[in-house]
C-alpha cells in the first residue's frame, strides 16, 4: 500500500521496498545465471541438468513474458484491450529475421548470396528495403522503431476517433488478421507463408552452438528485468495513475483537464516497442518467424496470459505468461488434442473464480483462512493493515 509520502522517496524506493528489491535481485540471478549454468556446468546425467531444448524453451518463455508486460500496461493499467499485440511482436521479429537471413551467406540450400526463398522465386536481387538489415545495429533499432512507428500511426487514428472498449479490440484483431494475409503474399518479399528461417549466425555467433543459445537466454532475462523496471517506473509515476484513471473513469479524466489521447498513444507505443524487442529476441531462439505469429488467436492468447496471471500487476503478467506457456508446452507434448480445452477452461476458471488472477491467490487464501479457520482468542495481526487493505480483505 502506498504510504502518504511515497513521492518524497528516491526513485528506486518509490518502485519497490528494499526487501522487494532484494527478492527481485535473487530471483533475477536465479533465472538469468543459474538456468544456463544448469545446462553448461552440470553433467547430463544429473537430476538438475537442463537440456539444450529446455534452455531454448525457457528463453522463448522469457520473450513471451516481455510481450505480456506491454500487454498489461495496455490492458491491465489503461483498460485498452488490444487483441493485436502479435502485430508488434511479429514486426520486431521480422526485422531481426531479415538480419538473420542476410547472414546465412552461402550456407543456404542454394548456396546463393540471396535468401533461399528469393532464389526459389527467381528474384535477381534483394528488394530495396532489405540491404540495410545487413547491419546488426540497424536491424536492432528497426525492431523497435518499426513497431512503434506503426503503433503511433494506428493508435493516433484509432484513439483520435475515440474508438475504445470492444470496438478497439475488434479493430486490433482485424489489423492482425489483415497483416497476416499481407505477410502470406510472396510479393511482399518476406518469405510468404514459410516466413524467414534456417538462420546460421547472429552477430557473428553460430546459432548451432549451445553457448550462443545460452547467451540469448541470458540476454532475454536481462531485457525482461529491464522491461519490468521500466514498466514499474511508468506505473508508479503520476503518469501511471493517470493511466489507471483513464481505465476507471475516462470522463472524469477529461473533465480534470487531461486529454486521454496523448496518454493512450504513449502507452500503446510503449507496449508496441516492448513487443518489438520481445519479437527480436524470440526469432533467433526459436529459429523462425512466419505469418502464423499474426494469427489473431496468438494475440488473444497474450490477453489470456495476462488475465490468468493478474491484470494490473506486472508480476501477474510475467507469472501468467510463464504458467500458461509452461502448461502449453507440457500438454501439447503429452496430450496434444487437449490443449485448447485446457486453455479455455483455465481462462474461464480464472475469470469466474479468480478475477484478479493467480497473483491474488495468496490474498484470497488468507481471506478464506480468516473466515473459516477456528477463531483463535485474539487475532491482532488481521487488524493491522491500513484501512484500504483491510476493507478489501473484508470485502473479498
Amino acid at each position: 500500500m502506498q504510504t502518504p509520502d511515497a513521492s518524497m522517496l528516491p526513485l528506486w524506493r518509490r518502485l519497490h521496498s528494499p526487501q522487494q528489491w532484494a527478492f527481485i535481485a535473487c530471483l533475477s540471478v536465479l533465472v538469468i545465471a543459474v538456468v544456463p549454468l544448469l545446462n553448461s556446468a552440470v553433467k547430463p546425467s544429473s537430476w538438475f541438468y537442463l537440456s539444450d531444448f529446455q534452455v531454448t524453451l525457457f528463453g522463448k518463455y522469457l520473450t513471451y513474458a516481455i510481450l505480456a508486460l506491454g500487454m498489461d500496461l495496455l490492458w491491465g493499467y489503461t483498460g485498452i484491450l488490444s487483441l493485436g499485440q502479435g502485430v508488434f511482436f511479429a514486426l520486431g521479429g521480422y526485422c531481426m529475421g531479415m538480419y538473420l537471413m542476410l547472414h546465412i551467406g552461402l550456407e543456404g540450400q542454394y548456396h546463393n548470396e540471396l535468401p533461399d526463398f528469393m532464389v526459389f522465386l527467381n528474384w535477381p536481387k534483394l528488394p530495396w528495403y532489405w540491404p540495410p538489415f545487413r547491419n546488426f545495429g540497424f536491424a536492432t533499432v528497426a525492431s523497435v522503431a518499426v513497431p512503434t512507428s506503426f503503433a503511433a500511426l494506428f493508435g493516433f487514428l484509432a484513439f483520435r476517433s475515440r474508438i475504445r472498449g470492444v470496438y478497439l479490440s475488434i479493430i486490433t484483431q482485424a489489423l492482425t488478421y489483415a497483416l497476416m494475409l499481407l505477410f502470406f503474399l510472396n510479393e511482399l518479399g518476406l518469405g510468404g507463408n514459410n516466413g524467414l528461417t534456417d538462420y546460421k549466425t547472429v552477430a557473428g555467433y553460430r546459432l548451432k552452438e549451445m553457448s550462443t543459445m545460452r547467451g540469448l537466454y541470458v540476454l532475454s532475462g536481462i531485457v525482461l528485468l529491464l522491461s519490468y523496471v521500466a514498466c514499474r517506473w511508468i506505473t508508479r509515476s503520476k503518469l501511471g495513475r493517470v493511466l489507471e484513471a483513464i481505465r476507471d473513469g475516462e470522463n472524469r479524466v477529461r473533465f480534470s483537464g487531461y486529454s486521454p489521447l496523448g496518454f493512450k498513444l504513449f502507452v500503446f507505443v510503449v507496449a508496441a516497442g516492448i513487443a518489438g524487442i520481445a519479437g527480436a529476441l524470440y526469432v533467433p531462439q526459436v529459429g523462425i518467424i512466419n505469418p502464423s505469429r499474426l494469427d489473431p488467436a496468438e494475440s488473444i492468447e497474450v490477453a489470456i496470459w495476462v488475465a490468468v496471471g493478474g491484470r494490473g500487476t506486472l508480476v501477474g503478467a510475467i507469472l501468467g505468461s510463464l504458467v500458461v506457456n509452461g502448461l502449453k508446452s507440457w500438454l501439447t507434448n503429452k496430450y496434444p488434442a487437449s490443449w485448447l480445452y485446457v486453455l479455455g477452461s483455465v481462462f474461464v476458471g480464472v475469470v469466474m473464480l479468480l478475477p484478479d488472477g493467480l497473483v491474488s491467490l495468496p490474498r484470497r487464501l488468507m481471506a478464506a483462512w480468516v473466515r473459516f479457520a477456528p477463531r483463535a482468542p485474539e487475532e491482532p495481526r488481521i487488524l493491522e493493515p491500513v484501512p484500504a487493505a483491510k476493507e478489501k480483505e473484508l470485502g473479498a
Binding site: 502506498q2 509515476s237 495513475r241 470522463n251 472524469r252 473533465f255 483537464g257 486529454s259
Partner: protein, 265 residues
Amino acid sequence: MTRPVDEVEKLTPHESIIQLESCTVSFDGFKAMNNLTFYVEVGELRVVIGPNGAGKTTLIDVISGKVKPTHGRVIFAHDTDLSMLRDYEISNLGIGRKFQTPTTFEKHTVRENLELSLKGRRSVWSTLFSKLDAQDREKIDATLERVGLRDRAGWKAGLLSHGQKQWLEIGMLIMQDPKLLLLDEPVAGMSDEETAKTGDLIRSIAKDRSVMVVEHDMEFVRGLNSKVTVLHEGSILCEGSMDKVQNDPRVIEVYLGRDSAKGHA
C-alpha cells in the same frame, strides 16, 4: 492557454464570468435548451432549479463542453468562445464540474484522487517525471481537511460512502483551482447532516470563485441564500431571490405547488 484565466482576474464586479447567448441544444428535434440567454457574474453563487427535464444538466454540459450547442455562443470571461473548445481544454481554462452521480477514481486512494486533480501541467512527459513538492502536499492536506476526509486519505475512493464521494469530488475540483465551479446536485442522496456540511463547504468555496449549483433540494437551496434561476423546458422561467421565485405564479404552476408549499412549511 492561461490568457483567459488572466482575464478572469481582470474582470470587475458585475461583469459576467460565463455568458450563454441564445443557446439552443437540440437532440433529434427535442430542445433540451431553447434559445437560452444566461449569465453568472464573477464571484457569484448561483443556484439553478427546475423540474425534471428542464435542462439543468444540459446547461452544465454546454458550459463544460460535454455537449456543444446547436446554436448560440458560450462566452467565458471576456471573449473566449467555449463552443469551439474541447472538454479538457475548457477544464484547463478554469472551469470545473461535478457530475450528478459522484465520479471519482474508485481504485485510487483519496489522496491520489486529489493529486491527479492538482492544478499543473497535464502532458504525458510532465506526469511521467512529476514529483510533489512541499507546497503541493500542503495543498492536498489543506483540501483533505476542508472536505473532511483527512482520516480517509489512504482509503480507496471506491470504499467511501456516497456522501464522502461527493465531498471528494468537490475536493478534486478545489485542487484544480477553478474560476468557475459547476456543481450538479451536490447533495443528492445525502443525509440532513451531510447536506448541512455540504452547504457550509459550498458557501466557503464560493467566497473566492464563481459557483453555479444545480439542485432539487429546496431547503438546501434556501440555505445557500443566493440568486436562483428557474429553468423550464430549456428556457429561463424566472430569476431572483428564493422568496421572489417561490411566490412567482408561473413557478408554482410548473411545480404544481408542491415544492413551494413545502418551502413555506
